[in-house]
C-alpha cells in the first residue's frame, strides 16, 4: 500500500488529482485550478516555514545541561513584522482571487463548432448570471430524491415550456457551446457537482442558482450530488456527455421523437382506460 502510494506521489501524471482538484472539462474548472496552484505553492511555503521552524526550535532548544532559557517577553518589532507579513500574503491572495473570479463566473463564449444562434431554442432569461455573448443553451438541472432531471429549456414547441425535452441522470450537451445551468430542487437541498466542469452549485428548493460550463471536445464526465439529501445521497450520480454539434442535434431530434411517442402511448392508454372504466377523465399524471 505504501509502495503504491509512493509511486503515486512520484509519478506526475498519476498524481494530477493527488494534490490538485480535477479540471480539463471546462475553462472555468481550469481557471479554478490556476488559482489553486498558486495558493498551493504559497501554502507549501508557509507549511514548510512554520513546521520547519517549530521542529528546529524543538530540537535546538531542548533542555540540556547548562542551558538557561532566555527570559524575553516579546519583541514588538518582530511581532509587527510577522503580522504585516501574514497580512501581505493574504492581500496578495485576495488580489489574485479577484483577478481570476471574473473569468470563473463569466460563462465562456461559444466557439465556431458549436450551435448557431438559430439552433439554441427559445432564449431563456438568466436573471442572476450574465448571459454569454453569442449562442448558448440553458439547461434546467432539477435535483430530486435521488436523481437529477435535466430539462433542455426552450427546445419544446409550447410557449410555457411544459413540453421541453428532458432526460434523467444523463445530460447531453453540444461541444464548443456555452451551457448555462439553471439549478433548482423540488424537494430537499441537493448540490450539483461535476468535478471536471468546475464549480459546485447548491440546489435549494424555492431558489434558483446558476452556473455554466463549456466542453470543447466530445467526452463524458461523471459527478454526483455532494450535499446530504437523504439515504440515497451516495447514489445520486450524474453523467455529462458532450457530442459534436450535428450528432447532438440528431440526438435531440430522437429524444423529442421518443418523448412524443411516450406521450402518445400514454394518451392512448388513458383513452382505453377511460373507455373500460367509464370514468369521465383520467388526469394527465
Amino acid at each position: 500500500m505504501l509502495a503504491s502510494l509512493a509511486a503515486l506521489a512520484l509519478a506526475p501524471a498519476a498524481s494530477a488529482d493527488f494534490f490538485t482538484p480535477q479540471s480539463g472539462g471546462s475553462p472555468n474548472a481550469d481557471h479554478i485550478l490556476d488559482l489553486y496552484d498558486v495558493t498551493l505553492i504559497i501554502a507549501a511555503v508557509i507549511f514548510v516555514g512554520v513546521e520547519g521552524t517549530l521542529l528546529y526550535a524543538l530540537v535546538r532548544f531542548r533542555a540540556r545541561k547548562g542551558r538557561v532559557a532566555v527570559q524575553t517577553h516579546g519583541n514588538t518589532r518582530l511581532e509587527l513584522g510577522w503580522t504585516l507579513g501574514a497580512a501581505a500574503v493574504l492581500l496578495a491572495l485576495a488580489i489574485l482571487t479577484f483577478a481570476e473570479l471574473h473569468s470563473i463566473v463569466t460563462p465562456a463564449v461559444s466557439g465556431p463548432n458549436g450551435l448557431t444562434a438559430s439552433e439554441t431554442g427559445v432564449p431563456i432569461s438568466t436573471d442572476a448570471i450574465k448571459p454569454p455573448k453569442g449562442p448558448y443553451i440553458t439547461i434546467q438541472v432539477n435535483g430530486q430524491q435521488f436523481v437529477w432531471r435535466f430539462t433542455y429549456l426552450g427546445f419544446g414547441k409550447l410557449a410555457d415550456q411544459l413540453d421541453d425535452p428532458y432526460t434523467y441522470r444523463h445530460l447531453y450537451v453540444p461541444t464548443d457551446t456555452a451551457v448555462v445551468l439553471k439549478v433548482v430542487s423540488q424537494d430537499v437541498v441537493h448540490e450539483w457537482w461535476i468535478p471536471d466542469l468546475g464549480q459546485k452549485v447548491m440546489a435549494v428548493p424555492g431558489y434558483v442558482n446558476w452556473a455554466s460550463f463549456e466542453i470543447s471536445k466530445p467526452a463524458t464526465y461523471s459527478g454526483q450530488c455532494s450535499f446530504i439529501c437523504g439515504f440515497g445521497h451516495a447514489t445520486m450520480t450524474a453523467l455529462v456527455t458532450a457530442l459534436p454539434r450535428t450528432q447532438w442535434l440528431a440526438w435531440l431530434h430522437t429524444l423529442e421523437k421518443n418523448l412524443q411517442a411516450n406521450k402518445n402511448g400514454g394518451a392512448a392508454g388513458r383513452k382505453t382506460l377511460q373507455k373500460r372504466t367509464g370514468s369521465a377523465a383520467v388526469e394527465n399524471p
Partner: protein
Amino acid sequence: MAATTLTPIPQIVTDHVEREPRGLVRWLTTTDHKRIGILYMVATFVFFMLGGVEALMMRMQLIVANNDLISPEVYNQLFTMHGTTMIFLFVVPMFAGFANYFVPLMIGARDMAFPRLNALSFWLFLTGGIVFYASVFWNPPDAGWISTLPLASITYSPSGGEDAWIYLIHLTGISALLGAINFVATILNMRAPGMTWSRLPLFIWSILTYAVLLIVAIPVIAGAVTMLLLDRHFGTHFFDPTQGGSALLYQNLFWFFGHPEVYILILPAFGIISEVLPVFARKPIFGYKAIAASTILIGFLGLLTWLHHMFTTPTPLIVLIFAMIASFLIAVPTGIKIFNWIGTLWQGSIEFRTPLIFACGMIALFTIGGISGIFLAIIPIDWQLSDTYFIVAHIHFVFVGGSVFGIFTCIYYWFPKITGRMLSEALGKVSFWLMFVGTLVTFLIQHSLGLDGMPRRVYEYNNIGHLQLYNQISTAGAFILAAGVLVTVLNVMRSLKSGVIAGPDPWQANTLEWFTPSPPPVNNFDVIPRVRSLEPMKDIRREIARRAAAPSTAPAPVADVPSQPRVPA
C-alpha cells in the same frame, strides 16, 4: 480519586450542623466547582468514546468500494450522531469541565460566582446527552449534525430522531449559556487581589472569549431549532419552501451559530497551549498582549464569517466576498498565535514532558488545518472543495489536531492537580505518538480523497482512480488514533490507583492553581495570595527561595507564603 476529608475547626457553635452527604449523593448534590468539573470531564469523555466508535464504524464501511456492511440509513445516522456528539457532547462541555475546575483556581477564587447554577448547567447537559443517545433505541436522527432543511422537516424525517436532536440542542444550549454567564461573572468579579487584566492567564482570556461567543451564538441556534420544532409539530412554515418559508434562512441562522461555534471549540485549546508552553520552555510567554488581543479579535471576526459555509448557495456573490475577506482577516490573528508560540519555544530550555509534547503536536497539526482553511476561504477554490473529503480533512485537523490535542494537553497537564497523582510519562508518550501518527495517516489522505472527487457523507463509492486505496489508508489511521486514545485511558486508570504522588506544584508552573495542595481542598485557598505579575507562582517560589537563603529576616505578610495542606489526602 483521592478524596479530601476536612476536619472543620469550630469557630461558631450551633445546635445543628448538616452532615456532609457521602458517596453517590455527594456527587449528585454537589455545587463544588471542582466536583462539577470532574463530572463534566468524565461524562464528556464517555461521549467522546461513543463518538469515536461511530467514526470507526463509518471507516469500516468505507474500507472497500461499494461495501454493504452498513445500510445507507444507518450510515446517515452514524455521521449525524458522530458530528453532534463530538461538538455538543464532547469538545464544548469538555472545555466547560476544565474551565469549571480551573477558572476559579487560576484566578484565585473559592468557587464559581453561581455554584447552584453551575450544577444545573451540568445536569441539563447530561440530560440532553442521555435523551439524544436514547434515540438509538428508536430512530436516531439522520439529517447530519447541521440538521439541514428541508431534509429535517416532518415530511422528509418523520421519525422522532430529529426531535431528540432538537431536545439535545436546547438542553446543551441552555447548559452552555448558563455556564458561559457563570464564567463571565466569575472572571469579571472574583479575581485575586492584584490580578489586573494584564495579569490574567491566557487560558482565562480564552475562556472569557469562549463564554462571550456562546452567549452571542447560542440564542440564535436556540431560535432556529425552536422554529424547526414549530415547523415539525405545530403547523408553522418558517423553513418550508412550499409554503413560502425559506430553507436558506435556516442555513443562515445555523451557520451564524455554527461558525462562532468553531472558535468556541478551538479557543480554549489555544488558551491551554499558551499556558503549557512557557512552563516547559522555562521562559515567559512571548508577546502576552498580542496573544490575548488575537484571542478577542478571532472571537469578533468569527462572528462575521458564517457565510463562508454557504459559498455554493444562491447568495449574491458580493455578499459572499464580504465573508471571504472576513475569513482572510481571521488568518492574521491565528497566524500571530502560532508565531508567538514558536517565539515562546525559541531560546527556551524545553523539557519534553507529555503535556509539552501534546501542545507541540497541537501546533503542528492545527497549522495544517489552518493552511487548508485558506484554500476554503477562497470562493472559487471552495466551489471545488466544499462538501468533499477535503473539508472533512480540514475540520478534523482543526478539531482533532487542535481541540482534541488541546484537551489531551489539559489532561496531561492538570491530572496531577485534579487527582494528586502523576500520569505515566512512558504511556503518555506512547499515546501521543499513536495519536499523532494516527491523525496524520487518517486525515492527510482525505485531502486527496476530496480532490479526487469523493463527496462527504456518502455511504459508498465506486473505485474510480485510487479512492479505495486512499480510504483504506484513512481507515488504518483511524484505528491507530483510537489505539492512542485507549492508551491514555489506560494511563488514567492506572495512575488513579498507583500514580506517583504529585505534590502541589509538580511542573514548577506559573499560575495560581499550583499554589494549593493537589487535589485542592473544598475552599481552594486558605489564603488567597496577592498577584504581582502574570506568573504569580514564579514570584512565590522566588520569595520562598529568598527566605530559605536568609532565614533571619523578619516575616513577610502571610499572604505570600503558600498554604500548607491542611489534611493530607
